[in-house]
């Protein structure tokens, strides 16, 4: 079937009542999680992953996509109304958004955030549609040695970029790889580190690890600090909506931020928190109303919000085509794909093309739901943003327990989740990288298969790992992955100085 027909079929499947309901509910949950300061998109996706087990694969993925997009947008509500970014991706939005709120223009700021997020997300779908099949075609050329290097590249890039110390990031990644060896040896049939527990036969369950590392660890982070009452949300007194003149004024900023956000999203290791500052800075640089910046500029809000939402579509490209998630949320999403029995890579665009294009179409429609929920539900979400951590801490733990229990209706999974929660907490306290641990867990089996098959094919001679130009390109990318933290820290420093 050609791409256009697949796109059409995808939309047809996506508009089924169950999918539309899933989009609405998931986006609303995502916005709720996003607007709660302290909770992250990765945590939300990990926590709700078990709920998708009962759904069709495409619907399950749409739910995860809805939570992702909703959470990235939701962060702006708290940023604008209570001057506390709900997620790090909205940090730049708080600068101008709260100034507008102080001037009694909260609805205007929220309208700009909604519109820019919608445009950024929608435009990012264009690149998702057009770049993904191209990259997937490239991935078709990959054989066992290339898969080994690819898994190593994925690990170096996330370990290097998203940690304060590159060495600690790499250590976390290798620790994840080591944990992934728990279970039955895939080639020799030997029990590895199972301690006689048959539940570990297939290895550590990725969902348990995700819930523990991202959700339970967050509870412990919240529990160690004094519970403070959040600032009261500002009253929304002005009217929602944007005039034609304002939309015309914001359009160039949104297009610029879309390009920035998309590129940042595609580039593994960067993420929405970097994109929002880049979008904001470029909006300031090109603005004809520079004097408004710092005092409440709608262009500043649009620049930040369009960029962070443009990351969502962009970051899915390397995740779906190559199996390299660029940040923690996409690492969790990739875990979701694997749990649903799908291996990221070219197969998603051949064998499972129907499902993939339904997910893409769902991703487009999610942006419309996000716009509607954002415009009509902002006031309600402002109240939710004030929910105390004292209520969130036990509630999230109960959801962690029920979520991990639901995987196999087994208490052992709850204990594994708890152990990973403690590991995640300690990792975060001591600057190790939970995302790299998860990625090690996910990429471990792929890398092990690639390495051992390659060696088996070449009678144990490792020269096969350096035998094709693609191998060398991937080795080069691994080196780039190790060196990229230096480039990223320079970029971030420059952003902060600006």
């Amino acid at each position: 079937m050609d791409t256009l027909a697949l796109m059409g079929q995808g939309f047809f499947e996506a508009v089924s009542p169950i999918n539309l309901l899933a989009m609405f509910v998931a986006t609303a949950i995502g916005v709720t999680i996003g607007c709660l300061p302290g909770l992250s998109a990765a945590m939300g996706v990990a926590l709700l992953l078990p709920v998708t087990f009962g759904l069709a694969t495409s619907t399950g993925l749409i739910v995860l996509g809805g939570i992702y997009c909703g959470a990235i947008f939701g962060g702006s509500i708290a940023a604008i109304l209570i001057h506390t970014p709900g997620t790090p991706a909205s940090a730049a939005t708080a600068i101008e958004g709260y100034q507008l709120t102080k001037q009694g223009k909260a609805a205007k700021a929220l309208s700009v955030a909604c519109f820019a997020s919608f445009c950024g997300g929608l435009l990012s779908c264009i690149s998702l549609y057009f770049f993904s099949p191209v990259l997937a075609e490239l991935a078709l050329k990959f054989k066992s040695p290339e898969y080994f290097w690819l898994s190593l590249f994925g690990l170096t890039i996330i370990a290097g970029v998203s940690s304060k110390s590159m060495l600690k990031g790499l250590m976390s990644g290798v620790l994840g790889l080591l944990i992934s060896t728990i279970g039955m040896d895939p080639m020799e049939g030997v029990e590895r580190f199972m301690f006689g527990m048959s539940t570990l036969y297939n290895g550590v369950d990725v969902t348990c690890a995700l819930i523990g590392l991202f959700s339970m660890s967050q509870i412990l982070i919240l529990a160690e600090k004094r519970i403070v009452q959040r600032q009261e949300a500002a009253k929304v007194r002005d009217r929602f909506g944007l005039s034609g003149k304002e939309i015309k004024r914001l359009s160039p900023t949104i297009v610029r931020s879309w390009i920035i956000g998309n590129l940042v999203g595609i580039l593994p290791g960067a993420g929405a928190s970097i994109a929002c500052f880049m979008g904001y800075n470029e909006a300031k640089r090109f603005s004809r109303h520079k004097e408004e910046f710092g005092k409440g500029s709608i262009e500043g809000v649009a620049g930040s919000e369009a960029a962070n939402n443009a990351v969502t579509g962009g970051s899915l490209i390397p995740t779906l085509t190559l199996g390299i998630p660029g940040e923690s949320v996409t690492a969790v999403l990739m875990g979701g794909l694997i749990i649903h029995g799908l291996q990221p890579g070219p197969e998603l665009f051949t064998t499972h093309a129907g499902m993939t294009y339904t997910f893409f179409a769902g991703f487009v429609l999610i942006q419309f739901f996000m716009l509607a929920i954002g415009l009509f539900g902002c006031k309600g979400f402002a109240y939710i943003a004030r929910i105390s951590d004292a209520i969130l801490i036990p509630s999230i733990f109960v959801l962690c327990v029920v979520g991990s229990y639901a995987i196999h209706n087994n208490f052992t999974e709850v204990v594994i989740m708890f152990i990973f929660g403690i590991i995640g907490y300690l990792a975060r306290k001591f600057d190790l990288n939970p995302a790299a641990i998860v990625l090690g867990l996910i990429l471990g089996p792929i890398g092990e298969r690639g390495l051992r098959r390659s060696l088996m094919l070449n009678d144990g001679d490792p020269s096969i790992l350096f035998s094709t130009p693609l191998c060398w390109i991937l080795i080069g990318l691994c080196v780039f992955g190790v060196l990229s933290p230096v480039l990223m820290s320079r970029m971030q420093r420059r952003m902060k100085q600006d």
Partner: protein, 148 residues
């Protein structure tokens, strides 16, 4: 070198060496891949240690623990953690719903949430879990040894 990094190095060495000891008990053909990872991890920890020792010679050992644990409320943290452990143990005996209700109420009361908010949270969360996991996903949540 930061004081917290000494702990990180010690724990990572311990984990790595434990895995290595267990790997050496496997048949030789199954040892290769895990040993590669363990040697890789050992190398990374050692490089990290060497880099930090070089730093320590220049700047001395910096006590960053007050910074790492700034604002850390020991009693609150361990009470919540202990609550979580007791909750998991209780689930065996009295089942999911009852233990969850007790856990939610106890932790929120300890964290000084208003009674009305506690009641609303317990009822709302139980209803959501019952609808999503009990009815929609058909997950047989534990009833507990006392009621099973």
């Amino acid at each position: 070198m930061n004081k917290s990094d000494i702990g990180v190095v010690a724990v990572m060495y311990a984990v790595c060496l434990t895995f290595m000891g267990l790997t050496l008990q496997f048949p030789p053909e199954a040892q290769t891949y895990p040993l590669c990872l363990e040697f890789g991890l050992l190398a990374l920890i050692t490089i990290f240690l060497v880099v930090n020792l070089a730093k320590a010679r220049r700047q001395g050992i910096i006590n960053d623990l007050p910074e790492v644990f700034s604002g850390f409320l020991r009693n609150q943290f361990f009470m919540v953690l202990a609550g979580c452990v007791v909750y998991l143990a209780l689930m065996f005996a009295i089942g999911f719903y009852l233990s969850s209700g007790l856990f939610l109420a106890a932790i929120m009361a300890y964290l000084r949430v208003r009674h009305l908010h506690i009641a609303i949270t317990v009822v709302a969360l139980s209803a959501i879990i019952w609808a999503v996991f009990g009815k929609f996903l058909n997950v047989p949540l534990p009833l507990g040894a006392l009621f099973d």
